[in-house]
Amino acid sequence: MARAVEELELGPRSEQWQPTDGRLLDVDDLFVEFRTRDGVARAINGVSFSLDEGDTLAILGESGSGKSVTAQAIMGIIDSPPGFITGGEIRYCGTDILTLSEEKRRAIRGPEISMIFQDALSALNPVFPVGWQIAEMFRIHRGTNKSDALDAAVTLMDRVSIPGARQRVKSFPHQFSGGMRQRIMIAVAIALDPAVLIADEPTTALDVTVQAQIMGLLKELQEERKMGLILITHDLGVVADVADRIALMYAGRIVERAGVFDLYRRPAHPYGEGLLESIPRLDQKGEELSAIKGLPPNLTRIPPGCPFNPRCRYAQDVCRVDPPPPLREVAPDRVAACHFAEDVLAGEAVRTDVR
């Protein structure tokens, strides 16, 4: 493994994109909606967060909470129509990339900001060899010739620990196991040494032992290259090991942002509380698994007030009327969007669901 690392040339970062004070990415009050026949689905409603060099931010939430849409908005790969970014800024190294031309945007995708997807079998093109798919990055963005690009692909496959890389460079995605496929996906994403890597549920389609290996690899690569990593997941276990900070999303909003240990120790938002309680625990064997009651809201009809109020055990009248509670600082270095965040944090919130 050490040998493979030496072979990889990590060239200097592009001069055009230099982070100021280590700040790579600033997402500021982002709004995204999907205009469908059934109405306008408000997928992202004012999301803000930032990412520094070497930082790992986990975006956590249920399906439909808007975490993948956030990632796709940063990448600029939302299908439009039906998707539209209706507000906010996404600043990469200080420049609002939403205002850039498609061509300039494309030059960022891959060399600067890169992404890996959930299901590597469907995310890799079935009719091209994996080496070709990795080499394509060098050929398109750097104009590398065919054989040099393929050599670079072999080196990368070596780096992500695919055994017999040189022999397997011409194999097709379906000839690999799930874990190996995800490694190839990672190789594609890190090929041009991006500053930001977005991993959209990278381990969801894998079994648990392989999950740990893939997360380990991601962590390793991040440290090696000082990448900013955005980890999108609904798996609380994955987050605990890898992330520095967590942004908890619900119905297209960030409802809590905190350091990973702070949030695990004591969430400030009732949604986070519910999520943590729903983790199965060994010392509760035989008991019924607890779950947050109800379903996430339909994004075409988000309820007035706090979007979580129909499912919240502490909901009071103030929660059911607009405006929704703003994201505010409730403790040092943590923000939450709940009228009773301090009470939840102190464990003193009054339950209103039991009479």
Partner: protein, 306 residues
């Protein structure tokens, strides 16, 4: 690949036996071939007996078939009831039919795929609606209407193309080829569009975009080949069908091809000619099918022929 091909060829044997028997049985079961052969009068019994003996019609069906098959093995397609070698008759007509089919497939593939890609890429826009509506119109109009209309407008009124293709030259076959292609062209365009639209939504297309590839490259390199698989199947099977000649088109443009030969032979109750011609068509169809299946393996590496 080689093993696969051999296995497939072996599988063809029962198919050939089955189809030829069904054709043979149904054609020879259709009435008495000597009726009407002697003008207004009924044929003399001696003639009928001689005729039946010559074509083995006096023997039981299975024996007849076995004898026919025996000759077929030696490449002898028999002699038509009018005394001509069926093989020679077919050999005279196949070049015309092949030319016609090639022209049709060319139009079908080039125009059909191009129209499908343009429509698929601009889904929901004007050009897409134009392709969808015009292909629907073509699909709804019977080929004899398109054929005679083309003949009238482009052949007679405008005089751009020859009205008939009696000699079967390439120039003469151009308009008939297009008419013959019209229906399949419409299907190919729609199929290409649908499968392109489908594939443009695929996860790997999203990956291709995330890799920072241009839209043209995403479509031309990453989506095109995946979309082509369904279209190749359709065109492949269509070639099989076109080799059988196009009875209607050949009649309209007076083309002396395999289709019109079969049509005439059926009218004349020329059983040997019909069976011979159709047997050859079955073999061609099976061969084309095999080629299409082998081509899959080339287009889609997930399909393995080992």
């Amino acid at each position: 690949m080689g093993q696969y091909a051999i296995r497939r060829i072996l599988q063809m044997i029962p198919v050939v036996l089955g189809t030829t028997f069904i054709i043979y049985a149904s054609v020879f079961a259709l009435g008495d071939p000597t009726v009407g052969r002697c003008g207004e009068r009924a044929c003399p019994p001696a003639y009928i007996a001689a005729f039946n003996a010559e074509y083995n019609l006096d023997k039981p069906l299975l024996v007849q078939y076995a004898l026919y098959l025996g000759k077929l093995m030696h490449g002898d397609l028999g002699t038509s009831f009018y005394g001509n070698s069926v093989a020679t008759e077919l050999a005279n007509r196949f070049p015309t039919t092949i030319k016609l089919a090639a022209i049709a497939v060319f139009f079908e593939a080039v125009i059909g795929i191009a129209a499908g890609i343009v429509a698929g890429v601009r889904k929901g826009r004007f050009i897409d609606s134009l392709v969808m509506v015009s292909t629907l119109v073509v699909i709804s109009i019977p080929v004899f209407v398109i054929g005679t209309l083309a003949q009238l407008v482009f052949g007679i009124k405008l005089g751009w193309f020859p009205v008939t293709a009696t000699q079967g030259t390439l120039w003469q076959l151009l308009m008939p080829g297009f008419v013959l292609a019209a229906l399949s062209l419409a299907y190919v365009a729609r199929l290409t569009r649908t499968s392109l639209v489908e594939n443009l939504r695929a996860d790997y297309v999203r990956t291709a975009k995330a890799k920072g590839l241009s839209r043209n490259r995403v479509i031309a390199v990453h989506t095109w080949r995946n979309s082509l698989i369904a279209v190749v199947t359709f065109i492949g099977l269509d070639i099989g069908g076109l080799m059988g000649g196009a009875v209607v088109t050949e009649r309209i443009f007076n083309i002396n091809g395999v289709g019109s030969y079969i049509f005439r032979s059926i009218n004349q109750k020329d059983a040997t000619a019909v069976v011979g011609a159709i047997t050859v068509l079955v073999l061609i169809y099976l061969a084309v099918n095999l080629l299409v299946d082998l081509l899959y393996g080339v287009l889609d590496p997930r399909i393995s022929h080992d």
